[in-house]
Symmetry: C2
């Protein structure tokens, strides 16, 4: 069906959408952290992202193992206080990821435009109406 088989191969593979960053909860965590170079407390981050402590811990582990976030455990007075921040590598990788995400949106928009055009000029009835 595609016009140019060789060029089209892998056209929609989006290899740049690294699953470590793309997972929905982690995407929220990264978006929350990108504005706070000095870090966000664990409890604030859980609230901002609407995650349980257990879920947040699990996702932060994944991000920390990939060297994208840094977890600092300290004290605020006598109470333990954990702070999370993007690493420089994390900031760079997240920016690269966002560029890929923009590409998906551009592709989908272009595809929708093409489909609208095709629907207008098509003589035989199509499958989907939407």
């Amino acid at each position: 069906m595609p016009e140019n088989e060789a060029e089209d191969a892998g056209r929609f593979a989006y290899e740049g959408l690294d699953r470590v960053l793309h997972e929905k909860a982690r995407l929220g965590i990264l978006t929350a952290l990108v504005t706070h170079p000095a870090g966000v407390s664990f409890s604030d981050l859980a609230r901002l992202c609407d995650l349980t402590d257990g879920n947040l811990s699990r996702h932060l582990d994944v991000l920390a193992k990939a060297n994208l976030v840094k977890i600092t455990k300290g004290f605020e007075g006598r109470r333990p206080h954990t702070t999370c921040a993007l690493t420089p590598i994390g900031r760079k990788r997240f920016r690269e990821y966002l560029v890929q995400l923009e590409k998906v949106l551009r592709d989908a928009a272009a595809q929708e435009d093409a489909a609208d055009e095709a629907a207008k000029t098509r003589t035989r009835p199509g499958l989907a109406g939407a």
Copy 2:
């Protein structure tokens, strides 16, 4: 750390990023299908998305169970021929998903701007340089 605790709760939860659509391979499949109202053959779709037949089958099952794609099994001459197309619901849900994705990009861009501003006016040294 956030200025307004009540308003900020769940600020980065992105509930609209339905995992059925957000998963990387399925996002590629949906983007490929959105231009073809009459459907794409299974083999073309595998090539476009750079997926093995097994992986494509697995992801199409997830999308079909959610009523987002329709799989039509037929014949081309004597050879079995499978066609995949978005359902009207699938097209609608994918459009809604793309709106959410745009929100993530806007949030991240706004957050980056805010971080740049904060870095300029901050007197104490920040954690991350980027």
